[in-house]
């Protein structure tokens, strides 16, 4: 039982990271109809910027986290302004390819600036742990879960009550009607990219503070967040958070019971568990757990 709970805790921490990234996917998808493949690149960029702030410029870790989120948000909004704005009205797949192009530019950029070496971000948590009820909680994991909960809550409040959040929801629902009401679609698009990039950067710096440290391959985590987004339903922010947690739990449990249950399926089954789970759920619910069923007319 202790082992099970311990795995669940690890899953929640991992799932929080997925949830942050997946929420970023959904924010962009909902307002612009684009799947942002560059999320992994933005995540890596954010994490490395955080490293620079925290280690090279020696600002406090909390400030570094804030700064890296803000600068990633600026990068996201700038990219939207310079490139994606021109693509409005083009077929969605062309726009997706553009985000893949951005990913391919960001990845070498990151390695060209910071190199391939394994880096350790200065942070107040390190490997400290607290024990309670026979379980060991990593301080970083606790902070990851807590920060994610706070950020997600803040996002939902913003989305529900602020006028910009309302504008985002309206634009997602019907862009033309929104324009007719005087809502600036440009501002909405730029904001969604900024929010998504900031969420990715936060996920990145939280990951980088963990035991894995910071390597250029950190962006791969965003690929595993795709199933999280799909599982929850692509147009549902709540679904993204739910999907992230489910995927995180499933992956951590598969890793925990690898030797006992999954040795027949080869090493590291946990890596493909998100995708298998996604396929299973899509067979039953083609629009994800909380996604809206698309109404199609001839």
């Amino acid at each position: 039982m202790t082992a099970f709970l311990q795995n669940c805790f690890a899953g929640l921490s991992l799932g929080s990271t997925y949830a942050l990234v997946a929420l970023g996917f959904v924010v962009i998808y909902k307002s612009t109809g684009v799947i942002n493949f560059a999320q992994g690149g933005l995540l890596a960029l954010g994490a490395y910027l955080g490293y620079t702030f925290s280690n090279n410029l020696a600002v406090a870790f909390g400030v570094a986290v804030l700064l890296c989120c803000v600068s990633a948000a600026l990068v996201g909004a700038t990219f939207e302004r310079i490139v994606l704005r021109r693509m409005v009205g083009q077929p969605p797949f062309a726009v997706i390819m553009i985000t893949i192009g951005l990913l391919f530019v960001l990845e070498p950029l990151v390695t060209a600036i910071w190199g391939f070496e394994h880096k350790q971000v200065n942070n107040p948590w390190n490997i400290r742990t607290v024990e309670a009820g026979g379980l060991v909680f990593g301080v970083r994991d606790l902070w990851t879960i807590g920060l994610t909960a706070a950020v997600v809550l803040a996002f939902f409040l913003f989305f529900r009550y602020s006028s910009l959040g309302l504008a985002m929801r309206v634009t997602a629902f019907d862009p033309e009607a929104a324009l007719a009401q005087g809502i600036s679609a440009r501002r909405v698009y730029a904001t969604s990219w900024a929010i998504a990039a900031a969420l990715a950067a936060l996920a990145g710096i939280l990951m980088a503070a963990g035991p894995g440290g910071l390597t250029p391959s950190i962006g791969f985590i965003a690929l595993a967040a795709f199933p999280a987004m799909i599982l929850g339903g692509m147009d549902s922010p709540a679904g993204a958070v739910l999907g992230g947690l489910v995927i995180g739990l499933a992956e951590a449990l598969a890793r925990g019971y690898q030797d006992e249950l999954f040795s027949w399926a080869g090493d590291n089954v946990s890596v493909i568990v998100p995708y298998l789970l996604m396929i299973l759920i899509l067979l039953i619910r083609p629009y994800g757990l909380l996604g809206t069923k698309e109404v199609r007319r001839v």
Partner: protein
């Protein structure tokens, strides 16, 4: 007085493959280039680049049938290509069966695997399908690493499949007393097969099944209303595209003579998507143009990296960016530039140039 050479007087005229004198001249030029090129360019580096480009064009035609004509987005092309390569390794190499057998076996396995994915294409649309096929790449990678009996696991497997068709061995051509190198033989083999599959695809898309595919792409429910079995065509397109992909994979494996699971990753799938988009969605010719463009670029950079400032060519040498990273970044920049400025791809540019000369001296 005879009609002007470009006048189209009926449906049959419209469908003719090489209807105008210019098109026929183009065909002759292509055949001549195909036959003569390997004897002019004997350099192994350039020949091997052209062979890889040909194999890529082969696979890209398959993806274009699926994505460009049927509108089904697949990021799983790498999975089918990998499967084909292992067929070549086991059936062509280990069992030593001849070229047509392992090529066909790869196609059959590809079609079967595509048929397994097909049902997802029925239930899922657009982005959902893209991500599920993305999952396929990762699940495939896990399989390739763990089915060690077939794939050799992480360390890869040699592919010793022979390339002889009857008495003609493309690996060591000996025609009319003239001896040709392996690369020269493979050039003819691969580009001959590209021509074959391009003709097959072209014939498919200009006849009833092709029209049906395009109807499904444009609006599948409307297609159903006018009597097109959308489900059947979606699965069919998936099977055909995967069969072509697996055949390309078999050729790739047999030419390279060694394959490992690292090669069938997401990057490969994305490269194929990029080829189809850069070349032009929904054009067979565009797939070949795109393959030449995307396939030759890394080779050019690799070859001339010494002359580009700031590039690190070896482990200890100066420069801030490695050849691989530069390649990847340029690839990304190209995709972005292309889509922003020419969303219809290379084929779109080609059609515009053609239309300009057709209408000359009037501008439109």
């Amino acid at each position: 007085m005879g009609a002007h050479r470009n006048v189209v007087r009926g449906y049959a005229d419209e469908l003719r493959l090489f209807g105008t004198p210019a098109a026929r001249a183009g065909l002759v030029a292509m055949v001549v280039v195909f036959l003569v090129l390997p004897t002019v360019v004997q350099d192994d580096f350039w020949l091997s680049v052209l062979i890889y480009v040909g194999i890529t064009a082969f696979g890209a035609i398959g993806l274009n049938l699926l994505t460009g004509y049927c509108g089904q987005i697949s990021l799983g092309h790498a999975f089918f290509i990998g499967a084909g390569a292992y067929v070549a390794a086991r059936i062509g190499g280990e069992l030593g069966l001849p070229l047509p057998v392992w090529l066909l076996a790869a196609a059959v396995l590809g079609a079967a695997l595509g048929g397994l994915v097909g049902p997802f294409a029925l239930r899922l649309r657009g982005h959902y399908l893209a991500i599920v096929t993305l999952g396929l790449v990762f699940i495939g990678e896990h399989l390739w690493r763990n089915l060690t009996g077939i794939t050799g696991g992480n360390s890869g497997t040699p592919v010793t499949a022979g390339a002889s068709l009857g008495p003609v061995d493309f690996g060591a051509l000996n025609l009319f007393g003239e001896v040709y190198s392996r690369n020269q033989g493979w050039f003819w083999l691969v580009w001959g097969l590209v021509a074959l599959v391009a003709l097959l695809a072209k014939n498919l898309v200009r006849t009833r099944p092709g029209r049906a595919l395009q109807a499904v792409r444009d609006r599948d429910q409307a297609a159903e209303v006018i009597g097109v079995r959308a489900g059947r065509y979606k699965i069919g397109a998936f099977m055909l595209s995967s069969a072509i992909a697996a055949t390309a994979g078999a050729l790739f494996g047999a030419y390279q003579q060694f394959v490992s699971p690292d090669e069938w990753n997401l990057l490969l799938s994305i490269q194929y998507i990029a080829i189809v988009i850069v070349g032009g969605l929904g054009t067979i010719f565009g797939s070949v143009l795109g393959a030449i463009f995307v396939g030759a670029l890394p080779a050019l950079i690799d070859r001339y990296s010494d002359a580009i400032p700031g590039v690190r060519t070896g482990v200890g040498s100066e420069g801030f960016i490695s050849v691989f990273a530069l390649n990847q970044a340029l690839f990304g920049v190209l995709i972005v530039l292309f889509l922003v400025f020419e969303p219809r791809g290379l084929a779109g540019i080609w059609l515009r140039v053609k239309a300009y000369f057709k209408a000359w001296p009037f501008s439109y």
